[in-house]
Symmetry: C2
Subunit: 409 residues, 2 copies
């Protein structure tokens, strides 16, 4: 199940960036499961990673290799991503396997081992099948290409329980030159703020100072990948990389930087929303808008308390406008001195809660009508201040339980 129509855009080329793919047979023999991304000398890379204390071996190694990079000629040159196995909970052997993967690709490419950043997704706690993985690297390396087909193959090659590939692209004009931003992502469960089982790789040909790249990534992630939740679980493997090949137009000045940032946000939000739409067992795409909070953190706390409530999520699955469950979830959010009389809650354009109880204007018929849609917006106004947050989530269905009870993922 997934909400809405699948679409993977045709990606323009990003000057200097190539993608390759192979069928390594990491978990199953019949799918392409190994992706290599090549970036040119002089590229810049920024990354954000899971906050899970049990982070996976590739996260440890990728962070270390990224920290060892300078800018310019010493930048990282390759990303290697396998699906089917997360190389998490694998102790010292996992670290050695991630390093061996980097060494092998570095040798093929004629670069240093720490110019390679490894990423893994899939089952936790099993050792990588290293002979099969390493045997797949030459095929992935030799297939490197800038083409739209390479982007879509890579989009497919990083999936796990996802039902569809997730890609987004934007172009913008900078002083008469076209700048492109492409992104691919994976993730459908274990999704919550701070990067839950998701991988995101976003690249641009724009020429950006490394420190600008870093802050662009952090700002964009804060309102996209860190504002989604499927089940409140956070993975050991999450990572989001932003790459600039620096071969296109230079982004300078406030105006150009703001336009670039907005386009980057568009790509990141489209990818983040695609992850929610493909949430395990999802039949609803839910936007939670929390307004009039006294801080952004407070707004996020309320939004995620509602987003994680199994009773709200099962009501959404049933298209039941059980506003009492939304009210109860808001009421248990970690907010001091909540004045419930000041809170209003709307589903779409139907006011459901005001003055501490059900809105006088509310009718079951209106509630049922607005809940019948696949796309539902719940707006919660706290009456405490001027801060806000927007979070996306899904319903909780029998299918979610079936997926996660029946499969070892």
């Amino acid at each position: 199940m997934a909400v809405g129509v699948a679409k993977f855009p045709s990606m323009p080329e990003i000057a200097g960036l190539r993608l390759g793919i192979a069928q390594a047979g990491i978990k199953t023999p019949d799918r392409r499961d190994l992706v290599v991304i090549e970036v040119p000398q002089g590229a810049s890379l920024a990354g954000v990673f899971t906050l899970n204390a049990f982070c996976a071996a590739p996260v440890t190694v990728a962070k270390q290799h990224l920290a060892e990079q300078g800018s310019g000629v010493d930048s990282a040159r390759y990303l290697v991503i396998n699906t089917g196995n997360a190389n998490a909970g694998t102790g010292q052997q996992g670290i050695e396997d991630a390093q061996a993967t980097c060494r092998e690709l570095a040798q093929l490419a004629g670069v240093k081992a720490n110019a390679v950043l490894p990423f893994s997704t899939g089952v936790i706690g099993e050792l990588l099948p290293m002979s099969r993985l390493l045997a797949g690297l030459p095929e992935a390396f030799s297939s490197l290409s800038q083409s739209a087909e390479a982007w879509s193959a890579a989009g497919e090659g990083i999936l796990t329980t996802d039902t569809r590939a997730k890609g987004a692209t934007r172009t913008l004009d900078v002083n008469g030159a076209t700048v492109t931003i492409n992104g691919i992502a994976k993730g459908s469960g274990m999704i919550k703020p701070n990067m839950a089982t998701m991988l995101g790789f976003v690249a641009t040909d724009a020429n950006l100072a490394p420190e600008v790249l870093e802050s662009l990534l952090r700002e964009s992630v804060a309102t996209s990948f860190n504002c989604i939740s499927v089940d409140g679980d956070t993975s050991t493997n999450d990572a989001c990389l932003l790459i600039s090949t620096n071969q296109g137009a230079r982004i300078e000045g406030q105006e150009a930087l703001a336009r670039f940032g907005a386009a980057l946000d568009d790509v990141m939000i489209e990818l983040a929303q695609a992850i929610v739409r493909d949430g395990e067992g999802a039949t609803k795409f839910v936007t939670l808008d929390v307004e009039q909070a006294s801080s952004r953190q407070e707004a996020l706390d309320v939004a995620f308390t509602v987003a994680h409530s199994p009773l709200v999520k099962t009501a959404l699955a049933a298209s039941d406008a059980n506003w009492g469950r939304i009210l109860a979830a808001v009421g248990r959010a970690p907010v001091d001195n909540f004045d419930v009389a000041a809170i209003t809650i709307d589903i779409g354009d139907v006011r459901i809660v005001e003055h501490g109880g059900r809105a006088a204007s509310y009718t079951e018929a209106a509630g049922s009508a607005v809940m019948a849609d696949d796309n539902i917006t719940i707006r919660i106004s706290l009456g405490r201040g001027a801060d806000a947050a927007r979070v996306w989530t899904t319903d909780l269905t029998r299918e979610y339980v079936a997926i996660n009870a029946d499969y070892r993922s």
Copy 2:
């Protein structure tokens, strides 16, 4: 579904306490849904209530009436409990309805209105059917009895989606006299710390100073009702009352107080565990023991992070020893400077995690064997200190989703 065998003990009488029940037709015409508990003049009462900001009208009124009581002759005299309707999210009308219920019972009994404490459980956001509720009060009042049958009828009369009544009883010898503690409780979903949709009424004939009763209740709740979770949701209506009729032996001195406290803990924990065993759709009863934490709060944080993880709970439903999901949940607990190398995790007597990854001794066969049981203990040792917490929870099944998606509760 529920875990284990249903049993409601035969309750000894509590001197001075009587229970009555009626069929008021609050939600459905065919069940007894209105309970009255009478306590004698000179009884002491202590209560703890939901922290949900949208607390229900009866919670507001019960807290107010409890605060207005003195001890001795001015103590509260009646509890009135309806199921089928929570009188929550009902605004000012809800408050007036709860007060009217108190007034009506007070008139029947010849006491002041604030000597009555109201409690409600059931659907949120609908007004109480006051004419039916008030019409049921004389029947409940006239059926007041000290008998074991009255206790079991009251245990049945407070249920909602529960599949079984929950009762526990203990006696202890105090200076040659027998002291009795009886308790009944309800709750099966929306269960998490701080009193999620649960009602608990525990009574003793022991003679206890009111301030002692209050601290006994708080201490006992902290390791019983506040250490359980079915789905992480917290209700608008939770309350737990501890009543001493003060007509039995006086509990004096450290030794007698400690023995009484231990017996009270036994009753509270048995009731709390019964709620978990009857968790909506539950097929597993899971004990989470977190040890070697640097504070009790830290231990509770880790325990509840695991207890609330949908991925852990679905793995439990599948009897899948997917230890990677437990590791991932522990890793995302809100603990600073986690040293994952110091953490060990065991399921039953099977070590699953050590040295930051899967235990060397672990085998799938051993993991599967220990997960096949209905009763599972997960022990997580953090290697950080000397504090601990024990929390009880359930698995997450398709049946849970079916119950909560199909019924308006």
